[in-house]
């Protein structure tokens, strides 16, 4: 086992670069080992993207999770999101080693584990070679810094898109002009050529996926809740990675069809549903009992997740960069916490929830720092609110006993 742990990074690196691996995975796909169409789409997407990112002379670009993928697809540049890779790594049991590597490199233990694990995974050689890193400055302070660090170490350009805290027209102008400059620089460093029609096509695909994703959101208001919330926590990653690609349209169309079919039949992926919950922030990505206990034992249905929200308006393909600037600036977590609180309240009402749960990911200060404002707003409206402490990436920071007590207490309170 120990030997396998030592060999795993090298094995995964070779696997990722191997066309044989992609071929085998495609064969597996053809055998329909994944029963849901949307999951098959995701696997095809991951294989396509992996092949592009690890190809000889690949021109991938790393980005923070709030940078719109439409722009990169519009330039025919494969995107890579280290934060998403970090969460995936955690789900594959690779966090402990990644975090240890980051600590050995000098990253203090209080920094967000998504970013530290990304550092560790990169140090283990698991990331593809990238031509540049690009990041928006909004919402999370750490991500752009880590991208800047990666770029510095790899001696590739780092492009920062500075996002102001307001959503006015001047801010849209400011971000749009920076996106124009980013496009120019990305073309230079990757050898991509700018084609406005290709960018418009990415915007069109994003809009199509968005329409399906909104249908999924609307279908999820049904009672019983059609989907298991625990299965929907990958949405933040998908919102980052998929929009602007044909796979995004396929995925959300398939998810819409699947959800629609469940709702039509009055069926659900989760049998035991006594309470409806809205979930804020993310979940633990390593194997754990939290969500299964909540859903199956306690009968709490996570009917929607804050991170599954399609928050932006339809993008105007006639002015694609301006549309992407508007998308960036319309994020609910941009600016004062009261914006986020109002969005959460609206979701709580639309999904007719009995309570709201916030998973306090250790190290995510932008999110937990807003909690007092969010909690007070919900309590003023009489909506029960529970905070639970833990870590999305590092299982050692999840204390199951106290957590269980808090959750059960909250559910008892809902019963009362």
């Amino acid at each position: 086992m120990r030997r396998w742990e030592q060999l795993k990074p090298a094995f995964l690196r070779r696997l990722a670069r191997s066309h044989l691996a992609f071929g085998l995975a495609e064969r597996a796909l053809a055998l329909k080992h994944l029963p849901k169409e949307q999951d098959q789409v995701l696997l095809r997407f991951a294989l396509d993207l992996g092949e592009k990112l690890f190809a000889k002379d690949a021109r991938g670009v790393g980005a923070n999770i709030f940078f719109p993928a439409e722009l990169l697809y519009g330039l025919d540049i494969p995107p890579f999101y280290p934060e998403v890779a970090s969460g995936l790594g955690a789900s594959l049991g690779m966090a402990e080693e990644g975090l240890a590597k980051a600590e050995a490199a000098g990253y203090p233990g209080d920094l967000c584990t998504f970013h530290r694990n990304a550092v560790g995974m990169k140090l283990r050689g698991l990331f593809p070679p990238l031509r540049a890193y690009v990041a928006t400055s909004h919402i999370c302070d750490v991500a752009p810094q880590i991208m800047a660090n990666f770029a510095y170490e790899d001696e590739v350009p780092f492009i920062l898109v500075d996002v102001p805290p307001e959503r006015d027209e001047e801010s849209v102008d400011y971000v749009e002009r920076q996106l124009e400059a980013a496009v120019e620089e990305l073309c230079v460093v990757t050898g991509a050529s700018f084609d406005i029609d290709r960018l418009r096509e990415a915007i069109r695909l994003s809009n199509q996926a968005r329409r399906y994703a909104i249908e999924v959101m609307e279908l999820r208001r049904a009672s019983p809740s059609p989907l298991r919330g625990s299965g929907m926590f990958g949405q933040l990653a998908l919102i980052a990675f998929l929009f602007g690609s044909p796979h995004g349209v396929e995925y959300y169309r398939a998810l819409r069809d699947y959800t629609h079919e469940l709702v039509e039949r009055g069926a659900s992926e989760q049998a035991n549903q006594r309470y409806r919950l809205l979930w804020l922030h993310l979940k633990p990505y390593y194997p754990n009992q939290l969500l299964a206990h909540l859903e199956d034992e306690l009968g709490a249905a996570i009917v929607f997740e804050e991170m599954s929200l399609v928050w932006w308006d339809e993008l105007d393909e006639r002015r694609p960069l301006r549309a992407l600037a508007e998308k960036i600036l319309s994020h609910p977590s941009l600016g004062p916490a009261k914006h986020r609180a109002e969005v959460v309240l609206k979701l709580a009402r639309e999904f007719a929830v009995d309570g709201v749960v916030h998973f306090n990911h250790w190290g995510c200060h932008q999110s937990t720092g807003a909690l007092r404002i969010v909690r007070d707003r919900l309590r003023r409206e009489g909506i029960p609110f529970l905070e639970i402490d833990g870590d999305c990436v590092d299982g050692r920071n999840l204390q199951w006993g106290p957590l269980l007590t808090r959750i059960e207490g909250f559910i008892e309170m809902l019963e009362g």
Partner: protein, 343 residues
């Protein structure tokens, strides 16, 4: 006595506040227990921000007419959120501060400063004149020239005995600049030689390096020859042009302030390193003293440490939990670090 306006970040042009007849006061933690703030911000939140909040949460307005926030970092963004709800000191503005130094960002900051001026004028029914703004610029230009000289003297170990450098910097950014200019002039007139032997250190901090740390290092035989913090080298704006209309001066202020030695919020690693290494050759080691849970500085730290080490400069990281005194563990680590540098 001018009425006081509080501010939090060195990127705010103090000249605007002063020219409108107020005294800009840099808000620093006074050593209150940050536990007071834990009902409003999480226990693992930036200890600097929580310490500042703790000073105000009890209802004391500290004689301030209001405060000006800048969109400096996640920590201050969240402080701004709870401040508006729970602190009885008016928020006069939340200024959109760019993270770039490009002409586009300078123009954006210029617009933000125009908006700040308009809000202050309306709120206090005062008008900002070019004459008053130009005068304020000249006062602060003079102060920065004096501070540059002071830093040079510090670097060469030639500060007069008895000058408590950390406390002096706190006074510089919280008292009347004309008064402080006279005090700085008096200090610089004295001959000094505080630079006895011992390892020469640079201190790197976020908003400030606690005076206790500097004193301790010096008591243990180390010599602090430079400090990079918001209260020190990062305050050194290039000369601002006092001539022209209000708008001309605001434009120049925007450009000059965005080009101060960068804080990690600007994500300009090369600029940060170039700035830190200006004192290279005069240094034996570097002590980074960052507030606990200060993401920006902690995320940047590994690369800064690596680059400094490549140049033969050992680096010690201390995390400050907002207490006025150094912990026993910190003291031991400083002793060991100095011992290592002496060998």
């Amino acid at each position: 006595m001018r009425p006081k306006i509080g501010y939090f970040c060195p990127y705010l042009p103090k000249e605007i506040v002063y020219a409108l007849g107020f005294l800009p006061v840099r808000l620093l933690p006074r050593g209150e227990q940050e536990a007071e703030a834990t009902a409003f911000l999480p226990r693992n939140f930036c200890s600097l921000v929580k310490a500042i909040l703790a000073d105000f949460i009890g209802g004391d307005d500290h004689g301030l007419e209001g405060v000006i926030f800048l969109d400096a970092c996640d920590g201050y963004r969240r402080l701004h959120d709870v401040w508006r709800e729970f602190v009885p000191v008016e928020v006069l503005d939340f200024v959109a501060l760019p993270r770039l130094e490009t002409p586009l960002a300078q123009e954006r900051y210029h617009q933000a400063l125009r908006l700040l001026v308009r809000r202050l004028e309306e709120r206090f029914e005062r008008e900002l004149t070019a004459e008053a703004l130009g005068q304020a610029v000249m006062i602060y230009n003079h102060q920065r020239r004096l501070l540059r000289t002071l830093h040079e003297r510090e670097r060469h170990g030639a500060l007069p005995a008895g000058v408590d450098y950390g406390e002096l910097m706190v006074q510089v950014y919280s008292r009347d600049p004309e008064l402080m200019n006279r005090r700085l002039e008096a200090i610089l007139e004295e001959d000094g030689a505080n630079g006895a032997g011992g390892p020469r250190l640079m201190l790197v901090g976020s908003i400030r390096v606690k005076p206790e740390l500097r004193r301790t290092i010096e008591e243990l035989g180390g010599r602090v020859v430079a400090e990079d913090s918001c209260l020190d080298l990062r305050e050194l704006v290039d000369e601002v042009n006092p001539e022209g209309s209000v708008d001309d001066i605001l434009r120049d202020l925007a450009a000059r302030y965005l080009s101060i030695p960068p804080c990690p919020r600007m994500r300009d690693l090369r600029g940060r390193l170039a700035h830190l290494l200006r004192a290279d050759g005069h240094l034996d080691g570097v002590v980074c003293c960052y507030y606990k849970f200060c993401d920006l500085f902690l995320a940047e730290f590994p690369l800064i440490r690596e680059e400094l080490r490549k140049r033969g400069l050992p680096v010690l990281l201390l995390e400050d939990e907002g207490q006025p005194k150094l912990s026993g563990q910190a003291l031991t680590r400083i002793e060991a670090f100095l011992e290592m540098l002496r060998q």
